[in-house]
């Protein structure tokens, strides 16, 4: 993976820049330049790629973020926003000439308003702590990425993160009502408004998912929902991937809207059984379907799901009868990534496909995997077609990583070919930057980059992400050249 050469004129001014930043912040310890400490910010959860930044700044208020951005703008320093650093796409990975602005100190709850069904928070707050703040009042925040214990709301907004329950509740963009955004020049804007509506164009809609390239989101107004009375999963086991896929389609087609439909294949089941012994059946593929509501509503929905599933002659239909059984049904699914990590190094893909293409895509993945000589395990959100094929490889075997990356790219291209896309929830970052041309034409990319031109004319905010390096080269060059 390539990153642009750092701007030496910025690096040579490190002390002067750091001094200006320190002056702008109330707490001198909020600026970190000691190489021993900046190292902690050299990568995100895509840890194969690393580079310590020029400096790290940890502001506490929107005003401080604005002051820092004004200085960086003035000094033509690239800026990389960072929430909790759990991005799997290298979105918060810095370059040597960049200042990382970490939002980790900005965790306040600014307002809880049950009547208006919203909460306003600073965006360094973790996803789970948002629900934590409102749970006592009978509410929850719906988007639930698996990383929710660690990831910050700012990162969720930047990546438009999703989770297991978004089949029913949508992803971040569907639950974001407003945001305080600091632009690269230090201007502070309030986007959105009541019901998410702002003045003129839906700027909130384009900020969400822009991977920290348009502005730094310091505060967010989030939609909260009343906690359902209860939820109950069923586990359905099948002797083939096709049948499992067809059952997913039939459930959706029937008009029932489960909150989650998760899929696991045999390699994945085997690994999790060894890891946590959830007691899953011996089968080719299994589905976990969860429904919500009051006890009678849950019974009614599960009865219908049972009827549908019977039509596909499942090997087993296991309905949870207690909290403990529910936990055990979810246990294997929730441990899947950890379990795979125990048996092998792996690369986790994140492509999306139309649900109708599921059997075809699973078949093709099998063929591609055989051809590449690398095993692939599948675990994913089947209800919305968001696949996470895990490619197993040996990081110590020469050439394995490259073969793995090639296979990954082939699988993602396959997703695009059948009408899906390169990433459903993890984002493009640096990881899938060069694949963007598989999904978009030069004109499509140009339209997106022009939006960045408007928000950040000098391309200083997280510049080397999302767009293929050659495609963004002319724009990124500008800041550095002017400053040189």
């Amino acid at each position: 993976m390539e990153m642009p050469a750092p701007d030496m004129s910025v690096i040579s001014r490190r002390d002067q820049i750091a001094a200006r930043l320190t002056d702008a912040l109330a707490d001198p310890a909020a600026v970190i330049t000691d190489p021993a400490e900046t190292r902690a910010y050299e990568c995100d959860a895509l840890s194969a790629y690393r580079c310590p930044p020029l400096a790290v700044v940890l502001p506490s208020t929107t005003a401080e973020v604005a002051a820092v951005l004004r200085i960086c703008h003035d000094e033509r320093v690239p800026v990389v926003p960072r929430g909790a650093g759990t991005s799997l796409a290298g979105g918060s990975m810095p370059t040597a000439d960049a200042v990382v602005i970490g939002l980790a100190r900005m965790t306040d709850v600014l307002e809880i308003n049950p009547q208006d069904r919203l909460i306003r928070v600073q965006t360094g707050r973790t996803n789970l702590a948002v629900t934590g703040a409102v749970a006592g009042q009978g509410f929850f925040y719906a988007p639930d990425p698996s990383s929710q214990l660690a990831c910050a709301i700012g990162g969720n907004i930047a990546m438009n993160s999703g989770g297991a329950h978004c089949l029913k509740y949508g992803v971040t963009t569907n639950n974001l009502l407003g945001a305080t955004v600091v632009l690269m020049d230090g201007a502070v804007v309030e986007l959105g408004g009541p019901m998410g509506e702002g003045a003129g164009l839906d700027l909130l809609g384009v900020i969400c998912g822009s991977e920290g390239q348009l502005g730094i989101v310091t505060e967010a107004t989030l939609r909260i929902l009343p906690t359902p009375e209860g939820a109950r999963p069923v586990l359905i086991a099948f002797d083939s991937a096709e049948t499992a896929g067809a059952c997913v389609a039939a459930i959706i087609r029937s008009g029932i809207l489960p909150v989650a439909i998760e899929y696991m294949d045999r390699p994945c089941i085997a690994a999790t059984e060894d890891f946590c012994g959830a007691g899953y059946p011996d089968c080719e593929a299994l589905l976990i379907v969860e429904v919500e509501g009051s006890a009678p509503e849950i019974d009614e929905q599960l009865r219908l799901i049972r009827d549908i599933a019977q039509g596909f002659a499942p090997l087993e239909f296991r309905e949870s009868g207690s909290e403990d059984e529910s936990r055990r049904i979810w246990l294997g699914r929730k441990s899947a990534f950890g379990a795979m990590g125990v048996i092998s190094d792996y690369m986790c893909l994140d492509g999306t496909i139309p649900v109708s293409q599921l059997p075809h895509v699973l078949n093709r993945i099998g063929e591609l995997s055989a051809k590449a000589g690398l095993r692939v395990a599948n675990v994913f959100h089947a209800g919305d077609g968001n696949m996470h094929p895990l490619i197993l490889y040996d990081a110590n075997a020469p050439g394995d990583l490259e073969r793995c990356e090639d296979l990954g790219a082939d699988i993602l291209r396959l997703c695009v070919e059948v009408g899906g896309c390169l990433t459903g929830e993890h984002g493009v970052g640096v990881e899938k930057r060069e694949l963007m041309t598989a999904q978009y034409t030069p004109a499509d990319l140009e339209a997106q980059m022009r939006v960045k031109d408007v928000f950040d004319p000098q391309w200083l905010l997280n510049p080397a992400k999302v767009f293929p390096l050659t495609v963004s080269a002319a724009r990124r060059g500008q800041g550095g050249q002017d400053a040189a």
């Binding site: 308003n113 009547q115 208006d116 009978g138 438009n160 632009l183 502070v188 309030e190 408004g193 009541p194 019901m195 998410g196 003045a199 003129g200 164009l201 839906d202 700027l203 909130l204 809609g205 384009v206 969400c208 998912g209 009343p226 906690t227 389609a249 087609r253 008009g255 029932i256 809207l257 509501g293 009051s294 509503e297 929905q301 999306t352 139309p354 649900v355 109708s356 959100h381 919305d384 077609g385 968001n386 009408g419 899906g420 896309c421 990433t423 459903g424 984002g427 493009v428 963007m436 999904q439 978009y440 004109a443 499509d444 339209a447 997106q448 939006v451 031109d453 408007v454 999302v466 767009f467």
Partner: protein, 346 residues
């Protein structure tokens, strides 16, 4: 001008030298819109893909809304949002106006149901954004940006939309005898409890309506629970179906008087309602008010609220923040550098 293909449309826009407005059925024009040469998209029609088991439909912009709704109904599905039907309305007009009905409180707005678009920019270039899958974070979300842009970023030629199953049972709770405060409180109770309410509003006659949908047993159960929660302060009647919601959704389609649309927080609604002349409706649990009020009416708008005149003369309150206005203008210029595209959502 009425292009028959996307290519022809692109050529038309490229060749344009004076302002144009993109229209569909021209049923959703706001005051002052639809000026200049109209480019009418009603020849770009057809459902290009419909996968009921994936809850997605892809439609060319000029397709009549009614035709899309009929095709979905044949599979016992509907659009995931709830656009108001108007004679001759096209799906392109619906998305360009971000037409979002009562279901917004639970299922979201039109923009939330939009998965992907094809469009011709003001330069006559054909671009694509998003796709036809539920989750997609590949690059910037220009789909949301185009939703509600009223044709100013380009001509949307095709849109992929989320569909939803038609619920087997629908019931409406009608509450009468409530004042403004009581009406807002009832809607809030309905929307903040575990009742899965899919619509909450008040009709011009003062009746508060709450919609429950789903499987038969569960609608009955929730209706019972909701009646308990609403307590004795209102007279409550439960009726089958959701005809009242069609009345609510379609309010303001006829008439001559200036029509204001105000979006605010439900907790801010009561003092504003007190200032309002009749007739008016309340939707989205108190977050949307639409009222026939004089053109020169200047309400005392609460913090964050917005008011637009939908009929009469163009007027939007409050004034847009200058930085946001600059961003809006910059984005418009980036899609339409010659500044030829006028508002023409319809």
């Amino acid at each position: 001008m009425r292009p028959e293909t996307e290519k022809e449309l692109a050529a038309l826009i490229r060749a344009a030298t004076s302002p144009v407005s993109i229209t569909g059925g021209a049923t959703r024009l706001r005051p002052g819109e639809g000026q200049g040469n109209r480019i009418d998209l009603r020849a770009l029609t057809g459902i290009t893909l419909y996968e009921p088991e994936a809850l997605t439909v892809v439609v060319r912009a000029g397709t009549p809304l009614a035709e899309v709704q009929a095709a979905l109904a044949a599979e016992n599905q509907m659009l995931a949002f709830e656009p108001d039907p108007r004679d001759g309305s096209t799906i392109g007009g619906v998305v360009a106006a971000n037409a979002s009905g009562p279901r917004r409180v639970s299922a979201g707005a039109c923009r939330d149901a939009m998965l992907g678009i094809r469009m011709v920019t003001g330069e006559g270039e054909i671009i694509r954004n998003g796709g036809r899958v539920m989750k997609n974070v590949t690059g910037y979300d220009l789909v949301k940006l185009s939703a509600g842009a009223r044709g100013t970023l380009g001509a949307i030629t095709e849109v992929a939309l989320k569909t939803a199953p038609v619920p087997p049972v629908r019931a409406t709770l009608r509450l009468t005898g409530l004042d403004d405060a009581g009406a807002i409180a009832a809607m809030t109770t309905a929307l903040t409890g575990p009742f899965d309410v899919t619509g909450a509003g008040r009709l011009t006659n003062g009746t508060v309506i709450l919609r429950l949908e789903g499987l038969a047993g569960s609608v009955e159960y929730r209706a019972g629970r909701l009646r308990e929660a609403l307590g004795p302060q209102a007279a409550i009647e439960t009726v089958e179906g959701d005809a009242d919601f069609a009345t609510l959704r379609d309010y303001g389609q006829t008439g001559e008087a200036a029509l204001w649309r105000i979006v605010l927080r439900p907790s801010q609604a009561e003092p504003l309602l007190a200032q309002l002349p009749d007739p008016h409706i309340v939707d989205w649990g108190g977050a949307l008010i639409r009222a026939e009020a004089p053109q020169d009416w200047r309400p005392d708008l609460p913090q964050g609220a917005r008011a637009d005149c939908e009929r009469g003369a163009a007027m939007s309150l409050p004034e847009t923040d200058p930085v946001i206005a600059r961003l809006n203008a910059g984005i418009r210029a980036s899609f339409d550098p010659r500044g030829l595209l006028l508002e023409g959502a319809a």
